[in-house]
Symmetry: C2
Subunit: 226 residues, 2 copies
DNA sequence: ATTTAACATATGTGATACCATTTGTGAACT
DNA sequence: AGTTCACAAATGGTATCACATATGTTAAAT
């Protein structure tokens, strides 16, 4: 298993750095669904004792990113078609909600920042750098929702991202086949016009086209090939 | 501080029992907003070493039920009017979504079970047993959303409950002043009729009237008295 | 009397040790 | 060859200890 390192912020506890590393790895899909994890294995892989690893893993289990089996062993959950549909539906509901409640707080400065992220995404797409694409896409959405000063839904949204993450890698390869219209451009237009309805529409389309269709295809293909 | 004990399920780890106890205490509002917590304090209060307590507390911090301060100390977050409005709005969105997606899986058996819970709530209201009322209300909603076999939003919903919990105690006393129409009866009627629109409406009204109005009043009163 | 400095106490963090349980392996048996 | 049993290794769970940092307190200095 390959858990990418992350820039080490000093003055951070080991537990938090393990948490950040695992979270990142899961979110970009580095760890395959069904992978079994062990405290000691992870600890050794990161050169730490099991103690901080346990705390990080427990946190991720509470975010439903890691599944605790009845044997007290841990694994990255498998994806099923039913669960996938529910997760995408929840993602749409949560992100449309978050976008709607962010609009009143949007500034031209933030719109400019979002445009820059979107341009970087175009480049990542040309380079076919899928990890980068995933990260930037999440950054785009997170920044939008975070302009709401009392924002409370990003954690819930990220939990959904975490649950879709391991499955992401299989899906993202297909994105180019499906993602014809750039919905981020539509989101930006809606933001500039302060148009709630258009914003909600664009957000929903972005999510649906970005992963829903291709994800469903991958899952149904897997079913037929088995 | 008073952290109620919970029925001890054997074959459960200490970490999980601490987690369950703290979670329950927070959710019914036993612990006041702003309370400072310490690992060793909690450990001593529960007769355990700090290790399992740390893991439980970390999980709750990832669910935004416990706040980790920059000093590495922990506290139950204070409530503000802005955060409260956001939490209620998120609760409405999530629970309306969950209810909608549960309806197709509803059976007469479950409707009967829900009716029983609702009747127990009527009794708790007569007895003015507010803790029991809170627990039963949560059980009612959780059971409804859980009939969806691929359900993935209950954890997100419970995270919101956790964040509203500490503030709950101040609010729930007022509920009688505001909660005139029994929306649970409306929910049951909508379920029996398999009427999506009515179900979503009743769910939203239930949440709004159950806590939103009285909560906002408490918060604005606090602001003026300070 | 107020502020500052020094010291004692309390707290969070992480490594280690020990135990119970589970998993893995290999030999004996059918 | 397949199954079963016994033993070894691995793993999770918790307590304890050591260390660094933060907090609280007391005494000295202004």
């Amino acid at each position: 298993m390959n858990i990418p390192e992350l820039p080490v912020d000093h003055d951070i506890t080991d537990q938090e750095s393990v948490y950040a590393r695992l979270r990142h790895a899961i979110m970009v899909g580095t760890i395959e669904p069904g992978t079994n994890l062990t405290m000691r294995g992870l600890a050794e892989a990161m050169g730490l004792s099991p103690t901080p690893v346990r705390e990080a893993v427990r946190r991720l289990s509470s975010e439903n990113a890691i599944e605790i089996l009845p044997n007290r062993r841990m694994a990255i959950p498998e994806m099923t078609l039913g669960r996938f549909e529910e997760l995408v539906a929840l993602r749409v509901t949560l992100e449309v909600h978050a976008a709607e409640r962010s609009l009143p707080y949007i500034s031209d400065y933030v719109i400019e920042k979002l445009k820059e992220i979107d341009e970087a995404m175009d480049e990542a797409l040309r380079e076919e750098n899928l990890d980068k694409l995933t990260i930037l896409n999440q950054r785009f959405h997170r920044m939008l929702y975070s302009v709401n000063p009392n924002q409370v839904c990003v954690p819930a949204i990220e939990s959904v991202w975490l649950q879709l993450g391991p499955f992401q890698r299989q899906v993202v390869k297909r994105v180019k086949e499906f993602y014809k219209i750039d919905r981020h451009k539509e989101i930006l237009t809606a933001l500039r016009a302060r148009d709630v309805a258009a914003l909600m529409n664009a957000t929903e389309s972005d999510i649906r086209e970005g992963s829903s269709r291709s994800g469903r295809l991958v899952l149904t293909e897997n079913l037929t090939t088995r």
